[in-house]
């Protein structure tokens, strides 16, 4: 839960900067940093590991930017070149020198959250809880602080880096700080959910939140909440099925995004379809009233304003025509007189407004 919230916050800025795939790259490419840090300290919980990972993360971003700035290949291809290279260095290092320790490839890919509680944090002989909980809480606090303190700067640098630079707000520095933060978060989350699922937690909740709000601050809060809720649901889901916890969490993030996409009040699929249907009928009644208006009171009205005439002259399908008439009648825009349709006052206004709009 803490992991998910911690991932979602910097994830928001990645999504808004159209750098979602960078989270994939960073979460993989930090592996050699972790491995080398591990060799240096012999301790998986050492802060050196985090520093090493943060450095490799920033290095990844720098390499990607260097390669894409040559303009020989595009940024997505540059990402595809850099992170597998770094990741495979990490994998080779593990396979070659660390075959007998707790770092193995499965754990790297998928994490092992189930065992995290057994890795206790012992201070002065007292067991004060799972170590990774402390680590991730620390990361979460750092993320929250960073975003709260630099909220304004991050916002302008993300929306309009040119302006931020012209205002002297150093967007490049902020960019690398953010990337370092993403790396640190990824290391923390790595232990819990592995390097693939980190991506799900960094990109999924912010994307869902993006569909739900038009405000950056709300988007940040929502994505943390969505991430946390998915994590809890995923945990129980995994418990029920006796499956991988990390996998279940990522699945839940996917499910959460799917429902948001479907049901979001403004940008969701259902809402868009409904709006489109409404617009279609609004437009149909407009056409109908304009048609009636232009023939109103003229000799041909007896012919033009008949309901069955609509299918001939407007080339409407009969079902569509009768539905349009029903909508217009219900809206009080037209009234029936025998076979003829007549505009009401409201209908006349409606039509003349429609004409003016054009």
């Amino acid at each position: 839960m803490v992991v998910a919230a911690a991932c979602a916050l910097p994830g928001v800025f990645l999504v808004l900067r159209k750098m979602s795939m960078m989270s994939d790259a960073i979460s993989h490419a930090i592996l050699p940093g972790i491995v080398i840090g591990f060799f240096a300290t012999g301790d998986l919980g050492s802060p050196i590991l985090i520093a090493g990972a943060a450095l490799t993360g920033v290095l990844t971003v720098a390499l990607v930017e260097m390669i894409s700035s040559t303009r020989l290949i595009k940024e997505d291809a540059a990402i595809g070149i850099v992170f597998p290279a770094l990741f495979s260095i990490g994998v080779i290092l593990i396979a070659r020198y660390a075959g007998d320790v707790h770092l193995d490839v499965d754990a790297v890919l998928l994490g092992e959250l189930a065992f995290a509680p057994f890795d206790r944090f012992i201070v002065a002989g007292h067991d004060i809880g799972p170590r990774s909980l402390y680590l991730m809480s620390g990361v979460l606090v750092v993320n929250v602080l960073f975003i709260v303190i630099f909220f304004k700067e991050l916002k302008v640098a993300t929306f309009d880096a040119g302006l931020a630079a012209a205002l002297g707000l150093m967007p490049a520095l902020l960019h690398y700080l953010l990337m370092a933060l993403v790396s640190v978060t990824a290391v923390g989350a790595f232990d819990a959910v592995g390097s693939i699922l980190v991506v799900a937690l960094m990109v999924g909740p912010p994307s869902a939140a993006y569909l739900l709000t038009d405000r950056l601050s709300v988007m940040l809060a929502l994505s943390a909440v969505i991430g946390a809720v998915s994590a809890v649901l995923g945990y129980w889901f995994a418990h029920l099925l006796d499956a991988s916890i990390g996998g279940a969490m990522a699945t839940m993030v996917g499910v959460a995004f799917f429902f948001t996409w479907l049901l979001a009040p403004e940008k969701g699929y259902v809402a868009r379809q409904r709006r489109r249907r409404r617009q279609r009928w609004t437009f149909a009644t407009k056409m109908l009233t304009v048609h009636l208006l232009s023939h109103e009171g003229l000799p041909e009205a007896a012919e033009e304003c008949r309901e069955d005439h609509l299918t001939d002259h407007l080339r409407w399908e009969p079902a569509f025509a009768s539905q349009a008439v029903r909508v217009a009648l219900a809206g009080g825009l037209v009234s029936r007189r025998g076979p003829l349709l007549e505009l009401t006052d409201a209908g006349r206004k409606h039509a003349s407004r429609a004409v003016v709009e054009i």
Binding site: L16, K18, I149, F151, K152, E153, K155, V156, T158, F159, D160, G162, L163, A164, A165, A166, L167, G168, L169, Y210, T213, D214, R215, L216, V218, M219
Partner: protein
């Protein structure tokens, strides 16, 4: 006369390819200046170099006689409308408030005063009713006005605007030019990347004709001539004769008998189209 902007021997290159080649330019204080030139002429790059957004290979840029860094607060910037993501989750007022972030400095947050001056700027560009509007719901002209409002709150002395007239309707264009004139009468200097040659004599006092090198610069009625335009645009300007009526200098006049710059029809070719990296 004091110069708002002085550019000396400015060269900008992407690797070994020069984008701007030894540019010298003086922008007098209190004028509206247009930068014109074909696509890829380096117009945007020139602005970005002045603002320190691209690093020059050589040369010096002075704002009111001093370096840009020391004069940052006196410079306002309106980037191309298309340079940002208008789906970003924020509203109009918030975007305008961003113009004040520089003055606020690090860590401090915008408060009521900032809100008030942002609203005032929106009022000036006729967008006050849109303050709470989501930016993705704006038309092109409205987006442009939001950007202008954001530059206005900066309360700068010299403004750089990258194609503010690009893709806006006639109403917005009139609103923008009225605003530029207001800025000028308040003693501000405005440098505008412009694409519509036809309106240069009407809108601007000074003009820079740019195509990697500086072809000419100075007062519009002296340097905005057929000859100079031909030099700037190469052989591609078959229509410059039409400018005869407006370019005041003698001896550079081409085909006579055409209408003035605002004459109906026949002049549509005067607008160069497209944006390009500039």
């Amino acid at each position: 006369m004091n110069h708002a902007v002085e550019v000396r021997d400015l060269t900008v290159a992407y690797r070994e390819r020069p984008v701007l080649w030894d540019i010298d330019l003086n922008v007098p204080e209190g004028v509206l200046m247009a930068i014109v030139g074909p696509n890829g002429a380096g117009k945007t790059t020139l602005i970005k170099a002045v603002l320190g957004l691209v690093k020059p290979a050589a040369g010096e840029i002075l704002i009111y006689g001093r370096s840009f860094e020391s004069q940052q607060r006196r410079v306002g910037y309106v980037p191309q409308r298309g340079s940002v993501d208008w789906d970003f989750p924020t509203n109009v007022l918030d975007v305008v408030t961003m113009g004040l972030y520089g003055r606020l400095g690090w860590f401090r947050r915008p408060g009521r005063n900032e809100r008030a001056s942002a609203l005032q700027a929106l009022e000036k560009v006729g967008m006050a009713d849109f303050a709470d509007r989501q930016i993705s719901q704006l038309s092109g002209g409205q987006q442009q006005r939001v950007f202008l409002a954001r530059a206005l709150v900066q309360d700068a002395d010299v403004y750089f605007m990258d194609e503010p007239f690009q893709g806006v309707d006639a109403t917005t264009e009139r609103a923008i030019i009225a605003l530029l004139r207001e800025l000028r009468s308040a003693g501000k200097t405005v440098v505008v990347v412009h694409h519509d040659l036809q309106t240069v004599p009407e809108y601007f006092d000074e003009v820079l004709l740019l195509n990697v090198r500086r072809l000419a610069s100075g007062q519009v009625d002296e340097v905005f001539t057929e000859e100079n335009l031909r030099k700037t645009y190469g052989g591609r300007v078959g229509f410059v004769g039409a400018l005869a009526g407006t370019a005041g200098s003698a001896g550079t006049v081409g085909a006579a008998g055409r209408a003035g710059p605002k004459g109906p029809g026949g002049l549509s070719g005067l607008t160069t189209k497209g944006t390009g990296p500039g």
